[in-house]
Amino acid sequence: MKTLKPYLSALLGKQMREDNRGVYDYRDIQVEVNPVARANGSARVRIGATEVLVGVKMNVDKPFPDTPDEGVLIANAELSPLANAEYESGPPGPAAIELARVVDRGIRESHAIDFEKLCIRPKEKVWVVFLDIYPINDDGNLFDAASLAAMIALKHAVLPKYDEKEDKVLYKELTKEKLPMRVQPLLTTFAKINGSTFIDPTKREEKAMDARLSVATLENGQISAMQKGGTGTFTQKEILDLIELAIEKGKELRKLLK
């Protein structure tokens, strides 16, 4: 990072970035709804050159003991070496796990999914929603791409048929029943290099960054999750300023959910 960090830092000092973006501008975002026929809901999102595919699959199983009449959400991310020269095959490492858990947190804490409506028989049978996150090309900011793709996939997800008598999910038969959603949290991620903060880091910016802050916002301006990453720090003022920005940016992103 000997040349990269000073270079990016010097640019940021002049409110500039490598791709001529504004300091708080997202890259171009492209969205594809339900590209995966086998999934119950899916989305393919591109932010700049970063591309993430998210699929929703539903199953019926026992609820967790502490939430006996609520459905279950299980989020998982696979950082396939397909997407970046530096990824290795193998079970999810810290980066994949953090990605899945941060996306999960924004959804879970806001009760974005109406989990109670996913109860079939209390204490015995509930719907389990699997959210699987697959980056296809990592050019930075997998968080926001994954979160947006997850929201779109969930929004368009439809329940498969469940035969209660046989206790079988008929995976190939879909109902017309949509997954019950309440709110739509969306993640906005900021990064910091030497005191300059900016939004939606590219891979090069991620390599040089000191720290990042992801904030999940809701339509009503509330925050449903936050995650600071990286070994650098943020000041209190920075955090509050970025939260304010996240609320604004969340509104922009939310337009893409339509």
């Binding site: 000997k2 040349t3 000073p6 270079y7 490598e18």
Partner: protein
């Protein structure tokens, strides 16, 4: 029967038949299989008399003797440095090839000359059968590249970035006031004021993407004049 199956400037894929006949000679990424001449990579055909050549349109950089490259120091050993030269093979620079000065290890550490993470402009001096690559930064203009910005482009586009008789790179330098050094291995070093460095970097990215389009030179000129994206 002797036959040529392609025309000059055709794009061919690996395994595609270019010519049939012992009189034809394969060149570049073309190979002979019996009497047939075939392409071995995705490339463009150049036919000159009996010579059927395939110029590759993709592929990682493979060093050749005499190439001018920009490498990044990844390791400091006892008698030299190891560099990543954007190739499947790393390169070694022996302590005697670092500089024309005499290096007295008792007085100066090797990292004072080249440290891990430093970028070095060097020349490929030898490649052994076993693909051991030796490079040298001893003579001018080879040296450590300090500061600035390093970007990476496809090595196949480097000739375009240099331009006919260096015309493109000259324009990039003159109009931006930046120093621009191009490595045949696809790395480009840009040094000036950051605002200009970024313009040059973006101009080079455009050259890489739109190398084939007409009016590229004018578009680059406009970008350097400080307007268009």
């Amino acid at each position: 029967m002797e036959k040529l199956y392609v025309n000059d400037r055709d794009i061919v894929v690996p395994g595609e038949m270019l010519a049939d006949g012992i009189e034809y000679l394969p060149s570049g990424k073309a190979f002979r299989d019996g009497e047939k001449i075939l392409a071995s990579t995705i490339g463009i055909v150049s036919v000159k008399g009996r010579v059927v050549k395939v110029i590759p349109l993709a592929g990682r950089y493979m060093p050749k003797r005499g190439d001018v490259i920009i490498g990044k120091v990844t390791n400091i050993g006892h008698s030299g440095w190891t560099l990543d030269v954007n190739s499947p093979y790393n390169a070694d620079m022996n302590i005697g090839e670092a500089t024309h000065e005499y290096i007295d290890l008792a007085k100066t550490e090797m990292s004072k000359y080249f440290d891990i993470g430093d970028y070095v402009l060097a020349e490929v001096i030898t490649i052994s059968e076993a693909k051991f690559i030796k490079i040298s930064a001893k003579h001018r203009p080879y040296r450590r590249l300090n500061g600035g910005n390093i970007i990476q482009v496809s090595p196949t586009k480097i000739p375009r970035i240099i331009g006919k008789q260096g015309s493109m790179i000259k324009m990039l330098k003159d109009m931006s006031g930046c120093d621009v050094v191009v490595g045949q291995n696809g790395l480009v070093w840009i040094k000036g004021v950051p605002e200009k460095e970024v313009v040059v970097a973006n101009a080079i990215k455009v050259i890489e993407k739109e190398s084939h389009k007409k009016g590229l030179t004018d578009k680059i000129k406009q970008m350097l004049e400080g307007g268009a994206k």
